[in-house]
Amino acid sequence: MASPTDLAAEILAHGVVAALVVQVVIRRVPVRAPVARLAFRTCVLVLPLVLPFMLRWLAPCRGTEAFTDLALFSTARWNRLAIAGVGLRDLGLLVAALLGIVLLVPDLLHLLAARRLDLRAERTPLPADHPVVTAFTALVDDTVPVMGAPPTRVDIVETPARLLHCHGAWRPAIVASRGVVDGLPRDQLRAAVVHEVAHIARHDVLRGWVLLVLRLVQWFNPVAQLFGRRAAQEMEWEADRVAATVTGTPLALARALIWSVRGRDAQFLGVLGRGRASIIEERCRRLLDYDPDTDAVAPRMAPAMTGLVAALATLLFFVI
């Protein structure tokens, strides 16, 4: 019977190996389509949670010493090296757990702040017959059927802050602040709305929650945290790509993005603020370099995913 530490070490090892393989494959192939990269990265988050349990059940021989000699990599072997009486593997697990928490907690706080805003918008929305609400709802209603998205509620918050996002995994809604609706020129507002509706059409809110659950379960795995973050970015890039394609004006979305962060005190947030600013920079750069052909390059997904999962499962079978 494996101890929780053994299991955590195996999950961590599987996560790191899967992440390295997927990252190299994405770069070397190369896979440019965010939707394909999102699928590959999700695979990295799911496999380490499934394989160790499944393989323990299907192949109990993996727990024997004979298999340890056959294995490509054994985490237990590293525990026989000790620093101050603590096994090196356990020490590595501790450092990884600390890193994982450092990466997870800021994102959780950010999510809670966004959730507070959503609740506030739901509690105190502008009246439905308010001209700002009417105009914005009309824009959303025009976009939703074109994008094949489900009916979407619109909530507008009475604040000059620049806020626009979607929420609701089952009953989607777009939350916008008065500041965004009043401040953005028409073409930029439309591009931003198309971006949000693209998220809704692709069920990205639900995907986001699934990613968060996967990250929470692997709180001790910094690689899972980084890949979870990156997967969330891929969703943004895909929504940007769709918005650029549908509107035909990637520059409008880039301008809207820059406008949304202009004047924000990134210094106040320190590294976190700089990190968020650099994410926006990257999205703008991708929009400026937007090329409908190269930005969508991906392998055929069904065989590619099957091959990737089979290859990773085979490799990870020998990582204990």
Partner: protein
């Protein structure tokens, strides 16, 4: 993928990467990482100065030269056993566990296994002495040292294990097949550091 992303809007067809290129890169990556993992897995054993799994030696002398120590071997040696040993091995594990396997002179099959941890009282790893189901267990006194005699049933038949700590080492003598305890006890009592 060639289908539009959203119904009603013509999104340009996605470009595809050849399946052959994807497969080639994926398989190369898996092979490369398998190699890297295997190399990395050698590091702890290398740092501890022990084999990664089981290392076979040509003779007891060769093993003793490597370990800079003398193994405990029985002075009482029934005629049925053949010397030199059929198998001499050092395993990964605490206390540098070793194994000497002796053949039956008549059948040519391994008959007696002598396993010992060189540096202290540590359990002998199962890669040297595969475990089985203990059907009978008895505590004994061997020259004033407590010992345990186990009759064990394994997948390939039964055996008898006698385990004790002597000269600061955990020693397990396994007799495969039918063993007579008096013979086994004489074998254990005669254990001594080999002189060349």
């Amino acid at each position: 993928m060639s289908e539009p992303v959203h119904s009603g809007v013509r999104v340009p067809s996605r470009g595809t990467v050849g399946g052959r290129r994807f497969s080639y890169v994926l398989l190369s990556c898996v092979a490369l990482f398998a190699l890297l993992l295997r190399l990395t897995d050698h590091v702890p054993a290398w740092l501890r100065g022990e084999p990664r799994g089981v290392q076979r030696y040509e003779s007891v002398d060769a093993l003793e030269r490597d370990l800079h120590t003398r193994l405990l071997v029985p002075a009482y040696f029934p005629d049925v056993l053949q010397w030199p040993p059929a198998r001499v091995a050092l395993s990964a594990g605490d206390g540098q566990p070793t194994l000497i396997a002796l053949r039956d002179r008549t059948t040519g099959e391994e008959r007696v296994l002598i396993a010992q941890s060189i540096r202290g009282d540590f359990a002998i790893p199962s890669r040297l002495l595969p475990p089985g189901e203990v059907v009978e267990s008895r505590d004994l006194d061997v020259g004033g040292r407590p010992a345990r005699l186990n009759r064990v049933r394994g997948p390939d038949g039964g055996w008898t294990d006698l385990s004790l700590v002597t000269e600061g080492r955990r020693v397990v003598i396994r007799v495969l097949g039918v063993a007579t305890p008096p013979d086994l006890l004489r074998l254990v009592r005669s254990l001594h550091r080999r002189r060349v």
